[in-house]
């Protein structure tokens, strides 16, 4: 691995970090230091900044859609590591590596059965190892990460993970351990309401011959105590919470097809400026369908307001309903502010790219895409900041 110290002049602000080219090689100019008594390192280090994003949700690492949207915003398609264990849970793209926290189970399926703990229980997870490895990756050191095989239920031999630009840790407990929490540059919690969870699990499992409506219901009920005790409390630590609820536009809807999605954004987070509608900090209720835009039933409704969430100041952007056509999406996008897009229509373009993903026509897809753009923005700001800090240090 090439090792080089990077000095950047004041004029060079690294704004071109995430281009569409597959490997962006940074060219830095460096100023030769005047001869002083201080001995400068002849050893040059090419340090790469790694940011760590935490994503918490139920059901282990089934957040493939979110992950793929996220990685797509950063550029490149996320794929499993080439040639390695086919049951690996890791996804790697040019800029991003996604690690499934199930890999840090200290007890495999048989161990858990023996000790009578579920996967949700912290006793089944090795937080020390999680902390060490995330810390190592963050500081640019490759790690040998264990693999938890979901098919066999065993812990497989480890795989080598190189430190990426953006590291995403997804799973049940990204924010559970305080040390790991401190390493996170941004954290997201996917909060699915019970009714929607039930509807989604029915969609997921009804095709399986082993399942019935009763078994799905029983499974959700049995999980509740552990979920409420260990997973749910993490949402107070999240910088952004995506809450998915049943729609209010259709009375007595229990199909779970039309969704009401709320993006709860914490105020005062470094490098993160919440999205807003029309006027920051005010309360807005907006139905875009009318004279300029015709929508089909049940239409779209937006809400924006400041609020308090677990004693934190937050801004909440809410979308109820679904998109039917391209121009509805672009219309909505043109009225939202602080999206951190690089060009007009970027959100729409990203949504179109993955039009076949679930949630592409409602708030889940929209807010997942927006969160992706926010993380990209956070990354670029962080890099720019570190570059100027280093420039200052080099001058001193």
């Amino acid at each position: 691995m090439a090792v080089s110290t990077i000095y950047s002049t004041q004029a060079l602000n690294s704004t071109h970090f995430l281009t569409s080219s597959s490997s962006s090689k940074q060219v830095f100019l460096y100023r030769r230091q005047p001869q002083t008594n201080r001995r400068f390192n002849t050893l040059i280090t090419c340090s790469q900044e790694t940011i760590v994003i935490g994503l918490a949700a139920d059901s282990g690492c089934g957040k493939s859609t979110f992950m793929r949207r996220l990685t797509s915003v950063f550029g490149g398609a996320a794929k499993p590591p080439k040639g390695g264990n086919p049951d690996s849970n890791t996804l790697i793209s040019d800029t991003t590596t996604v690690i499934c926290l199930d890999d840090y189970h200290s007890l495999d399926r048989y161990g858990r059965k023996e000790q009578k703990v579920t996967a949700l229980d912290p006793r089944a997870n090795d937080f020390d190892l999680m902390y060490e490895q995330v810390k190592a990756l963050k500081s640019g050191v490759a790690v040998e990460k264990p693999i938890y095989n979901h098919v066999t239920g065993l812990l497989d031999p480890p795989e080598l993970i190189q430190p990426p630009k953006i590291l995403v840790i997804e799973g049940l407990h990204p924010m559970f351990d305080e040390r790991v929490r401190d390493l996170l540059d941004f954290s997201i919690y996917l909060d699915i309401s019970n009714e929607v969870k039930f509807a989604w699990k029915i969609q997921r499992d009804m095709a399986e011959r082993g399942h019935s409506l009763e078994s799905i219901k029983a499974s959700i009920e049995a999980r509740k105590p552990d979920f409420d005790a260990f997973i749910d409390p993490q949402k107070q630590y999240a910088d952004a919470v995506i809450e998915v609820l049943p729609t209010q536009l259709i009375p007595d809807d229990n199909e779970g097809k039309v969704l009401r999605v709320r993006l709860i954004m914490k105020e005062g987070v470094k490098y993160f400026s919440p999205v807003y509608l029309f006027d920051e900090g005010s309360t807005i209720s907006w139905i875009p369908c009318g004279r300029k835009l015709t929508c089909s039933y049940p239409g779209i409704k937006f809400n924006y307001e400041p609020d308090s969430y677990f004693d934190h100041e937050v801004s909440v952007l809410e979308m109820d309903g679904q998109f039917d056509r391209l121009d509805e999406l672009i219309y909505v996008e043109s009225h939202l502010s602080n999206l951190s897009t690089k060009f007009y229509g970027e959100v729409t373009q990203q949504m179109l790219k993955h039009a076949d993903f679930p949630g592409s026509n409602n708030g889940t897809g929209l807010f997942q895409t927006i969160v992706g753009l926010k993380i990209r923005d956070l990354y670029e700001q962080l890099i720019a900041n570190k570059a100027t800090a280093r420039a200052e240090a080099a001058k001193a």
Binding site: G83, T118, G153, A207, K257, R325, I330, Y344, N361
Partner: protein
Amino acid sequence: MMMMMSAAASHVRVVLPLHQQRRTISIGSEIFRLSQTEPRRFKLTIATNVTAKYKGTKMREEKLSEMIEEKVKEATEVCDTDERSEECRVAWDEVEEVSQARSDLRIKLKLLNQDPLESFWQENPETDECRVYQD
């Protein structure tokens, strides 16, 4: 055996992006100009016929489906005696884990449009799991 996922698939309305549309998005423009009057709307049922290509993937699919059946039976039995016991919770957790794994495999096949063993095959063409599956 074709993978009939329509039972579990959702009807997706896909708006196909026309090539011209992208070029008409101009920065700062208020009016989004479409080169056609109305984008065409399609309703697709993703009853995919992306089947497992490699024997290994087929094996995994079948194994997971079997395990779901087994574990649901087991969990129902265990929970019959005591609904609130730890054994009951663990049993249903296993069902959830295996159901999710099954679903993930299905999603991988559907979204990636490729068999997850594809890259494994490229490095290890000799292994038994990489024999091409033929129905």
